[in-house]
Amino acid sequence: MPPPSRAAKGRTGRFALGVAVVSVPLVLALLGPVFAGAPGPRTASFTLGGGHWLGTDFVGRDVWRQVLHGGRPVVLTALAATALSYLVALPLGLVCALTHRRWLEELLIRPLDVLLAVPSLLLILLVASVFSPGAVGLALLVALVNVPDAVRIVRATAAEAAARPAVEALRMQGETWWRLAVGYVGRSMLRTLAADAGTRLTGVLYLVATAAFLGVGVAPDAGDWAVMVDRNRTGLFVQPWAVVVPAVLIVALTMGTNLLFDAALAGSRRPTRGRGAGSGINRNRAGEPRP
Protein backbone atom coordinates (compact mmCIF):
# COMPACT_ATOMS: atom_id res chain seq x y z
CA MET A 1 0.00 0.00 0.00
CA PRO A 2 1.44 3.39 -0.95
CA PRO A 3 1.19 6.07 1.76
CA PRO A 4 -1.85 8.34 1.36
CA SER A 5 -1.14 11.31 -0.88
CA ARG A 6 -1.16 14.85 0.38
CA ALA A 7 -4.46 15.53 -1.35
CA ALA A 8 -6.06 12.52 0.32
CA LYS A 9 -4.79 13.63 3.71
CA GLY A 10 -6.18 17.13 3.10
CA ARG A 11 -9.48 15.55 2.21
CA THR A 12 -9.62 13.57 5.45
CA GLY A 13 -8.84 16.74 7.36
CA ARG A 14 -11.59 18.64 5.62
CA PHE A 15 -13.99 15.76 6.19
CA ALA A 16 -13.27 15.83 9.92
CA LEU A 17 -13.62 19.61 9.95
CA GLY A 18 -16.93 19.37 8.10
CA VAL A 19 -18.28 16.78 10.54
CA ALA A 20 -17.18 18.87 13.51
CA VAL A 21 -18.69 22.08 12.15
CA VAL A 22 -21.99 20.60 11.04
CA SER A 23 -22.62 18.37 14.05
CA VAL A 24 -23.49 21.15 16.54
CA PRO A 25 -26.28 22.81 14.53
CA LEU A 26 -27.50 19.46 13.23
CA VAL A 27 -27.81 17.88 16.69
CA LEU A 28 -29.49 21.05 17.99
CA ALA A 29 -31.90 21.04 15.05
CA LEU A 30 -32.86 17.39 15.36
CA LEU A 31 -32.87 16.90 19.14
CA GLY A 32 -33.41 20.48 20.33
CA PRO A 33 -37.21 20.41 20.43
CA VAL A 34 -37.06 17.25 22.62
CA PHE A 35 -35.10 19.06 25.33
CA ALA A 36 -36.76 22.44 25.00
CA GLY A 37 -39.42 21.80 27.60
CA ALA A 38 -42.54 23.84 28.19
CA PRO A 39 -42.55 27.54 27.34
CA GLY A 40 -41.96 29.78 30.34
CA PRO A 41 -43.89 32.99 30.99
CA ARG A 42 -43.04 35.92 28.74
CA THR A 43 -41.01 38.71 30.30
CA ALA A 44 -39.66 42.03 29.04
CA SER A 45 -38.11 42.15 25.56
CA PHE A 46 -34.37 42.09 25.00
CA THR A 47 -33.21 41.53 28.56
CA LEU A 48 -30.10 39.73 29.73
CA GLY A 49 -29.88 37.48 32.77
CA GLY A 50 -32.89 36.92 35.00
CA GLY A 51 -32.74 33.14 34.69
CA HIS A 52 -32.48 33.31 30.90
CA TRP A 53 -29.17 31.86 29.80
CA LEU A 54 -29.11 33.76 26.49
CA GLY A 55 -31.53 36.50 27.52
CA THR A 56 -34.95 37.17 25.99
CA ASP A 57 -36.00 37.96 22.43
CA PHE A 58 -38.16 40.70 20.86
CA VAL A 59 -41.37 39.48 22.49
CA GLY A 60 -39.78 38.43 25.77
CA ARG A 61 -39.34 34.71 25.12
CA ASP A 62 -36.34 32.75 26.32
CA VAL A 63 -33.73 32.82 23.51
CA TRP A 64 -32.18 29.44 24.37
CA ARG A 65 -35.56 27.76 24.07
CA GLN A 66 -36.14 29.45 20.70
CA VAL A 67 -32.69 28.29 19.57
CA LEU A 68 -33.56 24.71 20.51
CA HIS A 69 -36.75 24.91 18.44
CA GLY A 70 -35.42 26.99 15.55
CA GLY A 71 -33.23 24.54 13.68
CA ARG A 72 -35.75 21.87 12.86
CA PRO A 73 -37.83 23.92 10.37
CA VAL A 74 -34.69 25.01 8.46
CA VAL A 75 -33.24 21.51 8.20
CA LEU A 76 -36.51 19.70 7.48
CA THR A 77 -37.67 22.19 4.85
CA ALA A 78 -34.30 21.98 3.10
CA LEU A 79 -34.25 18.17 3.15
CA ALA A 80 -37.84 17.96 1.93
CA ALA A 81 -37.19 20.43 -0.88
CA THR A 82 -34.08 18.56 -2.03
CA ALA A 83 -35.85 15.20 -1.99
CA LEU A 84 -38.86 16.66 -3.78
CA SER A 85 -36.79 18.21 -6.55
CA TYR A 86 -35.21 14.80 -7.29
CA LEU A 87 -38.58 13.09 -7.09
CA VAL A 88 -39.63 15.22 -10.05
CA ALA A 89 -36.26 15.49 -11.79
CA LEU A 90 -35.32 11.80 -11.80
CA PRO A 91 -38.23 10.45 -13.88
CA LEU A 92 -38.21 13.52 -16.15
CA GLY A 93 -34.47 13.35 -16.76
CA LEU A 94 -34.48 9.57 -17.28
CA VAL A 95 -37.33 9.76 -19.79
CA CYS A 96 -35.55 12.58 -21.66
CA ALA A 97 -32.29 10.65 -21.82
CA LEU A 98 -33.71 7.27 -22.74
CA THR A 99 -36.55 8.16 -25.07
CA HIS A 100 -35.99 7.89 -28.79
CA ARG A 101 -38.73 10.38 -29.48
CA ARG A 102 -37.07 13.70 -30.09
CA TRP A 103 -40.31 15.71 -29.75
CA LEU A 104 -40.96 14.29 -26.29
CA GLU A 105 -37.51 15.38 -25.13
CA GLU A 106 -38.03 18.87 -26.57
CA LEU A 107 -41.45 19.10 -24.98
CA LEU A 108 -40.07 18.26 -21.54
CA ILE A 109 -36.82 20.24 -21.69
CA ARG A 110 -37.78 23.50 -23.38
CA PRO A 111 -40.13 24.81 -20.66
CA LEU A 112 -37.44 24.06 -18.08
CA ASP A 113 -34.87 26.06 -20.08
CA VAL A 114 -37.18 29.01 -19.75
CA LEU A 115 -37.65 28.53 -16.02
CA LEU A 116 -33.86 28.54 -15.63
CA ALA A 117 -33.81 32.13 -16.86
CA VAL A 118 -35.73 33.46 -13.86
CA PRO A 119 -33.61 34.23 -10.79
CA SER A 120 -34.58 31.84 -8.00
CA LEU A 121 -35.25 34.32 -5.22
CA LEU A 122 -37.27 36.48 -7.61
CA LEU A 123 -39.53 33.53 -8.40
CA ILE A 124 -40.03 32.88 -4.69
CA LEU A 125 -40.80 36.53 -3.93
CA LEU A 126 -43.20 36.69 -6.89
CA VAL A 127 -45.23 33.82 -5.52
CA ALA A 128 -45.02 35.23 -2.00
CA SER A 129 -46.54 38.52 -3.19
CA VAL A 130 -49.84 36.84 -4.05
CA PHE A 131 -49.98 33.72 -1.91
CA SER A 132 -48.79 33.39 1.65
CA PRO A 133 -46.97 30.08 1.46
CA GLY A 134 -46.42 28.13 4.67
CA ALA A 135 -43.48 25.81 5.35
CA VAL A 136 -44.86 23.26 2.89
CA GLY A 137 -45.35 25.96 0.28
CA LEU A 138 -41.77 27.14 0.75
CA ALA A 139 -40.45 23.59 0.34
CA LEU A 140 -42.48 23.19 -2.85
CA LEU A 141 -41.24 26.51 -4.22
CA VAL A 142 -37.58 25.81 -3.49
CA ALA A 143 -37.98 22.34 -5.02
CA LEU A 144 -39.56 23.86 -8.13
CA VAL A 145 -36.67 26.31 -8.48
CA ASN A 146 -34.23 23.39 -8.35
CA VAL A 147 -36.03 21.07 -10.76
CA PRO A 148 -34.73 22.50 -14.08
CA ASP A 149 -31.08 22.21 -13.15
CA ALA A 150 -31.57 18.77 -11.57
CA VAL A 151 -33.30 17.50 -14.71
CA ARG A 152 -30.40 18.68 -16.86
CA ILE A 153 -27.90 16.87 -14.67
CA VAL A 154 -29.95 13.66 -14.52
CA ARG A 155 -30.41 13.76 -18.27
CA ALA A 156 -26.74 14.41 -19.01
CA THR A 157 -25.59 11.64 -16.65
CA ALA A 158 -28.17 9.15 -17.90
CA ALA A 159 -27.42 9.91 -21.53
CA GLU A 160 -23.73 9.23 -20.91
CA ALA A 161 -24.50 5.93 -19.15
CA ALA A 162 -27.03 4.92 -21.79
CA ALA A 163 -24.48 5.38 -24.58
CA ARG A 164 -22.13 2.75 -23.13
CA PRO A 165 -21.60 -0.55 -24.96
CA ALA A 166 -22.93 -2.43 -21.93
CA VAL A 167 -26.38 -0.96 -22.56
CA GLU A 168 -26.22 -2.06 -26.17
CA ALA A 169 -25.30 -5.56 -25.02
CA LEU A 170 -28.16 -5.65 -22.51
CA ARG A 171 -30.56 -4.45 -25.17
CA MET A 172 -29.45 -7.12 -27.64
CA GLN A 173 -29.83 -9.68 -24.92
CA GLY A 174 -33.48 -8.68 -24.76
CA GLU A 175 -33.52 -7.22 -21.27
CA THR A 176 -36.61 -5.21 -20.34
CA TRP A 177 -36.70 -1.41 -20.47
CA TRP A 178 -37.18 -1.32 -16.71
CA ARG A 179 -34.08 -3.39 -16.03
CA LEU A 180 -32.10 -1.28 -18.45
CA ALA A 181 -33.23 2.10 -17.15
CA VAL A 182 -33.30 1.37 -13.44
CA GLY A 183 -30.97 -1.61 -13.09
CA TYR A 184 -28.09 -0.37 -15.19
CA VAL A 185 -28.42 3.32 -16.09
CA GLY A 186 -29.92 4.29 -12.74
CA ARG A 187 -27.25 2.44 -10.82
CA SER A 188 -24.35 3.90 -12.74
CA MET A 189 -25.69 7.41 -12.09
CA LEU A 190 -25.62 7.05 -8.32
CA ARG A 191 -22.19 8.58 -7.64
CA THR A 192 -22.75 11.63 -9.81
CA LEU A 193 -26.17 12.18 -8.31
CA ALA A 194 -24.78 11.86 -4.78
CA ALA A 195 -22.26 14.60 -5.56
CA ASP A 196 -24.97 16.73 -7.09
CA ALA A 197 -27.27 16.15 -4.12
CA GLY A 198 -24.59 17.48 -1.80
CA THR A 199 -24.15 20.73 -3.68
CA ARG A 200 -27.89 21.00 -4.17
CA LEU A 201 -28.57 20.59 -0.46
CA THR A 202 -26.11 23.40 0.26
CA GLY A 203 -27.88 25.64 -2.21
CA VAL A 204 -31.30 24.67 -0.88
CA LEU A 205 -30.25 25.42 2.69
CA TYR A 206 -29.09 28.83 1.52
CA LEU A 207 -32.36 29.53 -0.26
CA VAL A 208 -34.61 28.24 2.55
CA ALA A 209 -32.79 30.29 5.19
CA THR A 210 -32.72 33.42 3.03
CA ALA A 211 -36.43 33.13 2.19
CA ALA A 212 -37.25 32.70 5.89
CA PHE A 213 -35.11 35.73 6.71
CA LEU A 214 -37.15 37.74 4.19
CA GLY A 215 -40.35 36.47 5.80
CA VAL A 216 -41.45 34.00 3.10
CA GLY A 217 -43.05 30.78 4.31
CA VAL A 218 -42.80 31.53 8.03
CA ALA A 219 -44.92 33.16 10.71
CA PRO A 220 -43.58 36.55 11.88
CA ASP A 221 -42.78 35.14 15.34
CA ALA A 222 -41.83 31.62 14.25
CA GLY A 223 -39.20 29.63 16.12
CA ASP A 224 -36.76 29.53 13.21
CA TRP A 225 -33.09 30.55 13.25
CA ALA A 226 -33.44 32.77 10.18
CA VAL A 227 -36.56 34.45 11.54
CA MET A 228 -34.80 34.97 14.88
CA VAL A 229 -31.95 36.79 13.13
CA ASP A 230 -34.43 39.02 11.31
CA ARG A 231 -36.78 39.82 14.18
CA ASN A 232 -34.19 40.33 16.90
CA ARG A 233 -32.04 42.67 14.81
CA THR A 234 -33.77 45.68 16.36
CA GLY A 235 -32.30 44.72 19.74
CA LEU A 236 -28.79 44.06 18.44
CA PHE A 237 -27.35 46.89 20.52
CA VAL A 238 -28.90 45.71 23.78
CA GLN A 239 -29.07 41.96 23.41
CA PRO A 240 -26.77 40.63 20.66
CA TRP A 241 -27.11 36.94 21.67
CA ALA A 242 -30.61 36.63 20.23
CA VAL A 243 -29.10 37.40 16.82
CA VAL A 244 -25.55 36.09 17.07
CA VAL A 245 -26.36 32.57 18.28
CA PRO A 246 -28.85 31.69 15.51
CA ALA A 247 -26.64 33.42 12.89
CA VAL A 248 -23.59 31.41 13.97
CA LEU A 249 -25.65 28.21 13.88
CA ILE A 250 -26.82 28.94 10.32
CA VAL A 251 -23.24 29.72 9.26
CA ALA A 252 -22.05 26.45 10.83
CA LEU A 253 -24.85 24.44 9.24
CA THR A 254 -24.30 25.72 5.69
CA MET A 255 -20.51 25.80 5.90
CA GLY A 256 -20.28 22.34 7.46
CA THR A 257 -22.66 20.81 4.91
CA ASN A 258 -20.61 22.14 2.03
CA LEU A 259 -17.25 21.10 3.51
CA LEU A 260 -18.58 17.66 4.40
CA PHE A 261 -20.04 16.85 1.00
CA ASP A 262 -17.07 18.29 -0.85
CA ALA A 263 -14.65 16.12 1.11
CA ALA A 264 -16.84 13.01 1.06
CA LEU A 265 -17.42 13.16 -2.66
CA ALA A 266 -14.09 14.48 -3.92
CA GLY A 267 -13.05 12.34 -6.82
CA SER A 268 -16.55 11.26 -7.74
CA ARG A 269 -17.43 14.52 -9.45
CA ARG A 270 -18.34 14.39 -13.04
CA PRO A 271 -15.09 15.12 -14.80
CA THR A 272 -16.75 16.65 -17.83
CA ARG A 273 -17.62 20.20 -18.73
CA GLY A 274 -15.60 22.01 -16.09
CA ARG A 275 -18.26 21.81 -13.45
CA GLY A 276 -16.15 20.59 -10.58
CA ALA A 277 -15.13 23.92 -9.18
CA GLY A 278 -18.25 25.98 -9.09
CA SER A 279 -20.32 23.74 -6.92
CA GLY A 280 -23.60 25.13 -5.77
CA ILE A 281 -27.05 26.17 -6.67
CA ASN A 282 -27.00 28.26 -9.72
CA ARG A 283 -24.11 26.90 -11.64
CA ASN A 284 -26.26 26.46 -14.59
CA ARG A 285 -29.06 28.88 -14.40
CA ALA A 286 -29.33 29.87 -18.00
CA GLY A 287 -30.81 28.22 -20.97
CA GLU A 288 -28.11 26.64 -22.99
CA PRO A 289 -28.96 25.56 -26.45
CA ARG A 290 -27.66 22.16 -27.19
CA PRO A 291 -25.04 22.07 -29.90
Partner: protein, 317 residues
Protein backbone atom coordinates in the same frame (compact mmCIF):
# COMPACT_ATOMS: atom_id res chain seq x y z
CA UNK B 1 -18.30 30.95 -39.93
CA UNK B 2 -21.81 29.80 -40.76
CA UNK B 3 -21.58 27.62 -37.64
CA UNK B 4 -20.92 30.67 -35.52
CA UNK B 5 -23.68 32.66 -37.17
CA UNK B 6 -26.26 29.93 -36.77
CA UNK B 7 -25.22 29.51 -33.14
CA UNK B 8 -25.66 33.22 -32.50
CA UNK B 9 -29.04 33.18 -34.24
CA UNK B 10 -30.21 30.19 -32.21
CA UNK B 11 -28.96 31.69 -28.97
CA UNK B 12 -30.68 35.02 -29.73
CA UNK B 13 -33.89 33.17 -30.52
CA UNK B 14 -33.71 31.38 -27.17
CA UNK B 15 -33.08 34.73 -25.48
CA UNK B 16 -36.20 36.20 -27.09
CA UNK B 17 -38.21 33.12 -26.09
CA UNK B 18 -36.94 33.41 -22.54
CA UNK B 19 -37.85 37.10 -22.39
CA UNK B 20 -41.38 36.37 -23.62
CA UNK B 21 -41.62 33.50 -21.16
CA UNK B 22 -40.49 35.68 -18.27
CA UNK B 23 -43.21 38.20 -19.09
CA UNK B 24 -45.83 35.43 -19.38
CA UNK B 25 -44.66 33.76 -16.19
CA UNK B 26 -44.74 36.99 -14.20
CA UNK B 27 -48.23 37.72 -15.47
CA UNK B 28 -49.49 34.18 -14.85
CA UNK B 29 -48.05 33.92 -11.34
CA UNK B 30 -49.54 37.14 -10.12
CA UNK B 31 -52.82 36.94 -12.00
CA UNK B 32 -53.61 33.30 -11.44
CA UNK B 33 -54.96 33.91 -7.99
CA UNK B 34 -57.50 31.46 -6.70
CA UNK B 35 -60.98 32.93 -6.30
CA UNK B 36 -61.43 36.66 -6.47
CA UNK B 37 -58.05 38.29 -6.99
CA UNK B 38 -59.21 41.64 -5.62
CA UNK B 39 -60.29 40.04 -2.34
CA UNK B 40 -57.04 38.13 -2.06
CA UNK B 41 -54.96 41.24 -2.74
CA UNK B 42 -56.89 43.39 -0.29
CA UNK B 43 -55.49 41.01 2.32
CA UNK B 44 -55.60 42.49 5.77
CA UNK B 45 -57.98 45.32 4.90
CA UNK B 46 -60.88 43.61 3.12
CA UNK B 47 -63.26 46.58 3.09
CA UNK B 48 -65.50 46.75 0.00
CA UNK B 49 -64.23 50.16 -1.14
CA UNK B 50 -60.62 48.90 -1.31
CA UNK B 51 -61.68 45.71 -3.09
CA UNK B 52 -63.59 47.76 -5.64
CA UNK B 53 -60.61 50.08 -6.10
CA UNK B 54 -58.25 47.14 -6.71
CA UNK B 55 -60.72 45.60 -9.14
CA UNK B 56 -60.92 48.84 -11.08
CA UNK B 57 -57.15 49.42 -11.00
CA UNK B 58 -56.35 45.97 -12.32
CA UNK B 59 -59.32 45.93 -14.75
CA UNK B 60 -60.33 42.60 -13.29
CA UNK B 61 -63.72 42.76 -15.00
CA UNK B 62 -62.00 42.23 -18.35
CA UNK B 63 -60.80 38.83 -19.59
CA UNK B 64 -57.24 37.85 -18.70
CA UNK B 65 -55.93 37.73 -22.27
CA UNK B 66 -57.00 41.33 -22.90
CA UNK B 67 -55.26 42.45 -19.71
CA UNK B 68 -52.15 40.53 -20.70
CA UNK B 69 -52.16 42.13 -24.14
CA UNK B 70 -52.57 45.61 -22.66
CA UNK B 71 -49.81 45.01 -20.13
CA UNK B 72 -47.42 43.58 -22.75
CA UNK B 73 -48.08 46.49 -25.13
CA UNK B 74 -47.45 48.87 -22.25
CA UNK B 75 -44.17 47.10 -21.46
CA UNK B 76 -43.04 47.53 -25.06
CA UNK B 77 -43.61 51.27 -24.72
CA UNK B 78 -41.83 51.37 -21.39
CA UNK B 79 -45.09 51.78 -19.48
CA UNK B 80 -44.97 49.46 -16.46
CA UNK B 81 -48.36 50.40 -15.01
CA UNK B 82 -49.27 52.19 -11.78
CA UNK B 83 -48.94 51.17 -8.17
CA UNK B 84 -52.00 49.86 -6.35
CA UNK B 85 -51.16 51.51 -3.06
CA UNK B 86 -49.87 54.94 -4.04
CA UNK B 87 -51.19 55.43 -7.57
CA UNK B 88 -47.73 56.48 -8.76
CA UNK B 89 -46.33 55.01 -11.99
CA UNK B 90 -44.16 51.92 -11.41
CA UNK B 91 -41.36 53.57 -13.40
CA UNK B 92 -40.93 56.20 -10.65
CA UNK B 93 -40.38 53.37 -8.15
CA UNK B 94 -37.70 51.99 -10.43
CA UNK B 95 -36.11 55.41 -10.83
CA UNK B 96 -36.04 55.93 -7.05
CA UNK B 97 -34.37 52.64 -6.23
CA UNK B 98 -32.11 52.45 -9.25
CA UNK B 99 -29.26 54.65 -8.00
CA UNK B 100 -28.26 52.83 -4.79
CA UNK B 101 -28.65 49.37 -6.35
CA UNK B 102 -26.59 50.30 -9.41
CA UNK B 103 -23.91 51.78 -7.16
CA UNK B 104 -23.76 48.62 -5.03
CA UNK B 105 -23.71 46.34 -8.08
CA UNK B 106 -21.07 48.41 -9.87
CA UNK B 107 -18.69 48.50 -6.92
CA UNK B 108 -19.23 44.80 -6.28
CA UNK B 109 -18.52 43.76 -9.87
CA UNK B 110 -15.55 46.13 -10.07
CA UNK B 111 -13.99 44.47 -7.01
CA UNK B 112 -15.22 40.97 -7.84
CA UNK B 113 -13.15 40.55 -10.99
CA UNK B 114 -9.71 41.40 -9.54
CA UNK B 115 -10.42 39.64 -6.24
CA UNK B 116 -11.78 36.47 -7.85
CA UNK B 117 -9.06 36.22 -10.47
CA UNK B 118 -6.35 37.20 -7.97
CA UNK B 119 -7.30 34.50 -5.48
CA UNK B 120 -7.78 31.90 -8.21
CA UNK B 121 -4.39 32.61 -9.80
CA UNK B 122 -2.73 32.65 -6.38
CA UNK B 123 -4.18 29.26 -5.46
CA UNK B 124 -3.26 27.75 -8.83
CA UNK B 125 0.28 29.14 -8.60
CA UNK B 126 0.85 27.31 -5.32
CA UNK B 127 -1.27 24.25 -6.11
CA UNK B 128 -1.26 21.73 -3.28
CA UNK B 129 0.74 23.99 -0.98
CA UNK B 130 -0.47 25.77 2.15
CA UNK B 131 -1.69 28.92 0.35
CA UNK B 132 -3.76 26.84 -2.04
CA UNK B 133 -5.25 24.71 0.72
CA UNK B 134 -6.10 27.80 2.73
CA UNK B 135 -7.71 29.65 -0.19
CA UNK B 136 -9.57 26.55 -1.35
CA UNK B 137 -10.94 25.70 2.09
CA UNK B 138 -11.99 29.25 2.93
CA UNK B 139 -13.69 29.82 -0.43
CA UNK B 140 -15.45 26.48 -0.14
CA UNK B 141 -16.68 27.30 3.36
CA UNK B 142 -17.73 30.92 2.81
CA UNK B 143 -19.37 30.07 -0.48
CA UNK B 144 -22.24 28.26 1.22
CA UNK B 145 -23.07 30.86 3.87
CA UNK B 146 -26.24 32.94 3.41
CA UNK B 147 -25.54 36.67 3.14
CA UNK B 148 -27.83 37.64 5.99
CA UNK B 149 -26.08 35.44 8.57
CA UNK B 150 -22.62 36.60 7.50
CA UNK B 151 -23.78 40.21 7.32
CA UNK B 152 -25.34 40.29 10.75
CA UNK B 153 -22.22 38.75 12.31
CA UNK B 154 -19.98 41.29 10.55
CA UNK B 155 -22.21 44.09 11.85
CA UNK B 156 -21.96 42.73 15.38
CA UNK B 157 -18.17 42.48 15.29
CA UNK B 158 -17.05 45.36 13.08
CA UNK B 159 -19.75 47.92 13.84
CA UNK B 160 -20.95 47.22 17.38
CA UNK B 161 -17.90 45.69 19.13
CA UNK B 162 -15.04 47.46 17.35
CA UNK B 163 -17.01 50.53 16.23
CA UNK B 164 -15.06 50.78 12.97
CA UNK B 165 -17.98 51.08 10.57
CA UNK B 166 -21.58 52.31 10.71
CA UNK B 167 -23.96 49.35 11.28
CA UNK B 168 -26.53 50.46 8.68
CA UNK B 169 -27.01 53.13 6.04
CA UNK B 170 -29.94 54.65 7.92
CA UNK B 171 -30.06 58.42 7.56
CA UNK B 172 -27.88 58.62 4.45
CA UNK B 173 -30.80 58.30 2.02
CA UNK B 174 -29.68 57.68 -1.53
CA UNK B 175 -26.49 59.70 -1.09
CA UNK B 176 -24.32 56.68 -0.38
CA UNK B 177 -21.25 57.91 -2.25
CA UNK B 178 -20.96 60.72 0.27
CA UNK B 179 -20.64 58.14 3.05
CA UNK B 180 -18.26 55.49 1.75
CA UNK B 181 -17.88 53.92 5.20
CA UNK B 182 -21.54 52.84 5.05
CA UNK B 183 -20.82 50.98 1.80
CA UNK B 184 -17.99 48.81 3.12
CA UNK B 185 -20.07 46.18 4.90
CA UNK B 186 -22.76 45.84 2.20
CA UNK B 187 -20.17 45.43 -0.55
CA UNK B 188 -18.14 42.98 1.54
CA UNK B 189 -21.21 40.82 2.13
CA UNK B 190 -22.30 41.04 -1.51
CA UNK B 191 -18.83 39.96 -2.62
CA UNK B 192 -18.58 36.97 -0.29
CA UNK B 193 -20.25 34.29 -2.41
CA UNK B 194 -19.37 35.37 -5.98
CA UNK B 195 -15.68 35.82 -5.12
CA UNK B 196 -15.57 32.26 -3.81
CA UNK B 197 -17.18 30.66 -6.84
CA UNK B 198 -15.20 32.76 -9.33
CA UNK B 199 -11.85 32.09 -7.69
CA UNK B 200 -12.55 28.34 -7.52
CA UNK B 201 -13.39 28.29 -11.23
CA UNK B 202 -10.30 30.30 -12.15
CA UNK B 203 -8.15 28.02 -10.01
CA UNK B 204 -9.58 24.87 -11.59
CA UNK B 205 -9.19 26.27 -15.11
CA UNK B 206 -5.60 27.34 -14.52
CA UNK B 207 -4.60 24.08 -12.82
CA UNK B 208 -5.96 22.18 -15.84
CA UNK B 209 -4.17 24.49 -18.24
CA UNK B 210 -0.86 24.34 -16.36
CA UNK B 211 -0.95 20.54 -16.58
CA UNK B 212 -1.67 20.54 -20.31
CA UNK B 213 0.81 19.50 -23.02
CA UNK B 214 1.02 22.96 -24.58
CA UNK B 215 2.18 24.49 -21.33
CA UNK B 216 4.75 21.72 -20.93
CA UNK B 217 5.93 22.46 -24.45
CA UNK B 218 6.18 26.19 -23.72
CA UNK B 219 8.23 25.42 -20.62
CA UNK B 220 10.52 23.19 -22.66
CA UNK B 221 11.10 26.12 -25.01
CA UNK B 222 12.21 28.11 -21.98
CA UNK B 223 9.27 30.50 -21.85
CA UNK B 224 9.34 32.19 -18.44
CA UNK B 225 7.02 31.00 -15.68
CA UNK B 226 5.11 34.27 -15.42
CA UNK B 227 4.54 34.43 -19.15
CA UNK B 228 3.29 30.85 -19.22
CA UNK B 229 0.90 31.59 -16.38
CA UNK B 230 -0.55 34.88 -17.53
CA UNK B 231 -0.24 34.75 -21.30
CA UNK B 232 -1.04 31.08 -21.88
CA UNK B 233 -2.75 29.44 -18.92
CA UNK B 234 -4.96 32.29 -17.67
CA UNK B 235 -6.83 32.79 -20.99
CA UNK B 236 -7.83 29.12 -20.84
CA UNK B 237 -9.55 29.79 -17.53
CA UNK B 238 -11.42 32.81 -18.95
CA UNK B 239 -14.24 30.98 -20.71
CA UNK B 240 -15.79 29.28 -17.69
CA UNK B 241 -15.15 32.40 -15.65
CA UNK B 242 -17.02 34.62 -18.13
CA UNK B 243 -20.05 32.38 -17.76
CA UNK B 244 -19.75 32.31 -14.01
CA UNK B 245 -19.67 36.10 -14.01
CA UNK B 246 -23.07 36.15 -15.70
CA UNK B 247 -24.46 33.51 -13.36
CA UNK B 248 -23.29 35.79 -10.59
CA UNK B 249 -25.97 38.27 -11.62
CA UNK B 250 -28.55 35.87 -10.26
CA UNK B 251 -26.68 35.76 -6.96
CA UNK B 252 -26.14 39.48 -6.92
CA UNK B 253 -29.88 39.90 -7.26
CA UNK B 254 -30.51 37.57 -4.30
CA UNK B 255 -27.70 39.27 -2.43
CA UNK B 256 -28.88 42.79 -3.19
CA UNK B 257 -32.36 42.08 -1.84
CA UNK B 258 -30.93 40.65 1.38
CA UNK B 259 -28.16 43.22 1.79
CA UNK B 260 -30.48 46.16 1.21
CA UNK B 261 -32.88 44.78 3.81
CA UNK B 262 -30.04 44.18 6.23
CA UNK B 263 -28.33 47.54 5.91
CA UNK B 264 -31.50 49.55 5.22
CA UNK B 265 -30.40 50.81 1.80
CA UNK B 266 -33.27 52.32 -0.25
CA UNK B 267 -32.57 50.44 -3.49
CA UNK B 268 -34.56 48.23 -5.84
CA UNK B 269 -34.41 45.28 -3.46
CA UNK B 270 -36.08 47.30 -0.73
CA UNK B 271 -38.69 48.52 -3.23
CA UNK B 272 -39.35 44.91 -4.22
CA UNK B 273 -39.66 43.68 -0.63
CA UNK B 274 -41.99 46.53 0.31
CA UNK B 275 -44.17 45.86 -2.72
CA UNK B 276 -44.29 42.14 -1.86
CA UNK B 277 -45.30 42.98 1.71
CA UNK B 278 -48.02 45.37 0.53
CA UNK B 279 -49.15 43.01 -2.25
CA UNK B 280 -48.65 45.84 -4.71
CA UNK B 281 -48.91 43.59 -7.77
CA UNK B 282 -48.08 46.09 -10.55
CA UNK B 283 -44.85 47.14 -8.81
CA UNK B 284 -43.82 43.52 -8.20
CA UNK B 285 -44.60 42.67 -11.81
CA UNK B 286 -42.65 45.63 -13.15
CA UNK B 287 -39.59 44.89 -11.03
CA UNK B 288 -39.75 41.18 -11.83
CA UNK B 289 -39.83 41.87 -15.56
CA UNK B 290 -36.89 44.26 -15.31
CA UNK B 291 -34.82 41.82 -13.20
CA UNK B 292 -35.81 38.82 -15.34
CA UNK B 293 -34.99 40.52 -18.65
CA UNK B 294 -31.68 41.74 -17.22
CA UNK B 295 -30.77 38.17 -16.26
CA UNK B 296 -31.72 36.84 -19.71
CA UNK B 297 -29.68 39.52 -21.50
CA UNK B 298 -26.59 39.05 -19.33
CA UNK B 299 -26.64 35.27 -19.71
CA UNK B 300 -27.06 35.72 -23.45
CA UNK B 301 -24.02 37.98 -23.51
CA UNK B 302 -21.96 35.54 -21.48
CA UNK B 303 -22.86 32.62 -23.74
CA UNK B 304 -21.88 34.62 -26.81
CA UNK B 305 -18.56 35.67 -25.24
CA UNK B 306 -17.86 32.08 -24.20
CA UNK B 307 -18.65 30.84 -27.65
CA UNK B 308 -16.23 33.36 -29.08
CA UNK B 309 -13.52 32.19 -26.63
CA UNK B 310 -14.06 28.44 -27.09
CA UNK B 311 -15.92 27.96 -30.37
CA UNK B 312 -15.41 24.20 -30.52
CA UNK B 313 -17.05 23.50 -27.17
CA UNK B 314 -20.44 24.74 -28.24
CA UNK B 315 -21.76 26.29 -25.09
CA UNK B 316 -19.79 24.64 -22.38
CA UNK B 317 -21.31 25.42 -19.05
Amino acid sequence: MSGLRSFVARRLLLGVAQTVAVVLLVFALTEALPGDAAVALAGDQPDPARIAAIRAALHLDRPAHERLADWAVGLLHGDLGTSLTSGRPVSTYLADGFGPTLLLAAITVALLVPAGFGLGVLAARYEGRLVDRLVSSVTLAVYAVPEFALGVLLVTVLALRLDWLPPTAVGYGTDLLGHPAALVLPVLVLLSRPVCSLSRLVRAGMVDALASPYVAQARRYGVSGAKVRYAHALPAALAPAAQQLARTIDWLLCGVVVVEALYVIPGLGTVLLNAVAERDVPVVQGLAVVFGVLTVVLNLGADLVTHRLVPRAGVAA
